[in-house]
């Protein structure tokens, strides 16, 4: 019985960890390409889920998800073009204020559009009670979907950044923006692209965990902080580590229920964040060398 509970918590931790990891990766992509920490990252997850729910009203699920991802990517691009593009070497403070402002804007917009109600996408396969037996543990198929999608996203990103010309151009831009510009690479477009990609993966994550965690207009803020924590935990800029860090956070949060009231669950991430920023800002897996290279 204890073991079963343990694995339930573990699975829950992994599930939430997936979202955190993806949000963290989104942070990294934008940070690497632009040096900006985009606090509106969490809103992309929310937008993905909410838009998919709305589209699902008249579209089959796969199309709804695809549509939601595309719409959110467009929003991401718009944000960049409207708010970020004209920033010239912004100070950290300015950038934080602007992105927080954007996230508030989106959140309010979502409130007006969808109201306060909690929504969720239907389970991709099965329903809330269906379960798959894995090694004696009952796991919801949606969890497997979440983990699978996350794995594919990470894999695709890897392929993109290391094996396609466009991905290399973005890495060049992240590595040394001036040098990239001197190669003729349109760095401003790379920046927009980074927002678009981050928005896309955020939206996809939002869709795939929506059945489990539900989606509501306000989930973005919390996710942003947790995603940021994950990014810092793994070492800002290091996406592989973000995955690991995401799982760590998810699991820690999940198991915290054992020892403290549920209400404090969110405090875990903030505590970890503060601790990391004070003690080891380069992250668990990071080192200053890697941070300098700014590799995805």
């Amino acid at each position: 019985m204890f073991l079963e509970l343990f694995f339930q918590y573990l699975v829950a931790g992994l599930t939430y960890g997936t979202i955190y990891a993806v949000v963290g990766i989104g942070f990294n992509i934008i940070y690497n390409t632009t040096g900006i920490i985009n606090f509106a990252q969490g809103e992309f997850v929310m937008l993905g889920g909410m838009t998919a729910v709305s589209l699902h009203a008249f579209l089959p699920l796969p199309l709804a998800i695809a549509g939601a991802v595309l719409v959110t990517m467009a929003v991401g691009g718009l944000i960049e073009m409207l708010f970020i593009r004209w920033l010239v070497k912004p100070s950290v403070l300015r950038m934080i204020i602007i992105t927080i402002g954007v996230s508030i804007l989106i959140r309010e917009g979502a409130l007006h559009l969808w109201g306060e109600g909690i929504r969720s996408l239907p389970y991709f396969t099965g329903n809330e009670v269906s379960a798959i037996e894995i090694g004696g543990v009952r796991v919801s198929p949606q969890v497997l979907w979440a983990l699978g999608v996350a794995a594919i996203v990470v894999l695709l990103l890897n392929v993109f950044f290391h094996y396609t010309m466009l991905g290399r151009e973005m890495r060049a831009c992240a590595s040394n923006r001036d040098a990239a510009a001197l190669c003729g690479i349109p760095t401003r477009n790379m920046v927009t692209l980074s927002f678009v990609v981050s928005a896309g993966i955020g939206a996809l994550a939002g869709c795939v965990v929506s059945p489990i965690t539900q989606t509501q207009y306000g989930i973005g803020a919390g996710l942003a902080i947790k995603g940021f924590t994950v990014a810092i935990l793994g070492g800002l800029g290091n996406s592989m580590a973000a995955v690991g860090a995401g799982f760590i956070l998810g699991i820690l949060e999940s198991f915290s229920i054992w020892v403290m009231p549920t209400a404090y669950k969110d405090a875990i991430s903030i505590t970890i964040l503060l601790a990391m920023l004070f003690a080891r800002p380069s992250g668990l897996f990071g080192n200053s060398e890697a941070a300098r290279l700014k590799e995805f």
């Binding site: 151009e169 060049a172 040394n176 040098a179 510009a181 190669c183 003729g184």
Partner: protein, 244 residues
């Protein structure tokens, strides 16, 4: 090919370049010499659009480029080998070079790119040897060659180099300058900014002397070399001692 008139560049309220005019004709090697802080790097960064001038005009091949973004300036044929090499450290040599050919790829010149790559390997055999090595692990001189090769991959009509000899051992410096001279011989147009005035003037056709953001002297390179004030100030010669 390049005509700069009355360029004023400032960092905030600090004026760095004052009403600066110069030109580079096709096929010339022109060098700008001057002490540290004279404004040489600022000048090159402004020409390539990494900095915006406060006033003045920059014309490249009869076109005003003063307000264009860097990528447009590069695609028009003006390349810069920046100060401090600035290679993409986490990428291998070959990828660095291919990234340099971005504008060529955009023009659909895939074959030319691969021919150019071979040409660069021919100019810098050591780069071929280290083709798959991460650029950050190369020595200073090798990185400099990589940076030059990367800029050349864009097929520029004007190549500008910002202090290519800085921080390099004397033997490597010789090689680098030989390569610049070679570029000139092959009909290329070069604007070379250098602190190592002697070597620069030896390979250049003409030179400008930049002092505190102003041009104080210009002329044929051999005349500048012979100018004793230049010798004293920039070539480190104790001219009086020599004449005793």
């Amino acid at each position: 090919m390049l005509k700069v008139r009355n360029l004023d560049v400032a960092y905030g309220s600090l004026s760095v370049l004052h009403h600066l005019s110069l030109h580079v004709k096709q096929g010339e090697i022109v060098t700008i010499i001057g002490a540290n802080g004279a404004g040489k790097t600022t000048l090159l960064r402004t020409i390539t659009g990494l900095l915006r001038p406060r006033s003045g005009s920059i014309r490249f091949r009869e076109e005003e480029i003063g307000s264009l973004p860097t990528e447009n300036i590069v695609s028009r044929g003006c390349s810069l080998v920046p100060e401090g090499r600035q290679v993409f450290a986490a990428m291998p040599v070959r990828e660095n070079l291919l990234l340099g050919a971005y504008v060529q790829f955009k023009r659909g010149r895939r074959e030319e790119v691969h021919r150019d790559l071979e040409r660069i390997y021919g100019l810098f055999p050591v780069l071929k040897q280290r083709e798959h090595q991460l650029a950050g692990t190369l020595s200073g001189g090798e990185q400099q060659m990589l940076a030059i090769g990367r800029a050349l991959m864009a097929g520029p009509s004007l190549i500008m180099l910002d202090e290519p000899s800085m921080g390099l051992a004397p033997l490597i410096v010789k090689d680098i300058f030989a390569i610049v001279r070679q570029l000139g011989k092959e009909g290329g147009t070069v604007l070379l900014v250098e602190q190592n005035a002697r070597s620069a003037l030896r390979i250049a056709d003409r030179g400008y002397v930049l002092e505190n953001g102003r041009i104080v002297l210009e002329g044929a390179a051999e005349n500048l070399l012979a100018n004793r004030e230049i010798q004293r100030a920039y070539l480190g010669k104790d001219v009086d001692a020599e004449n005793k």
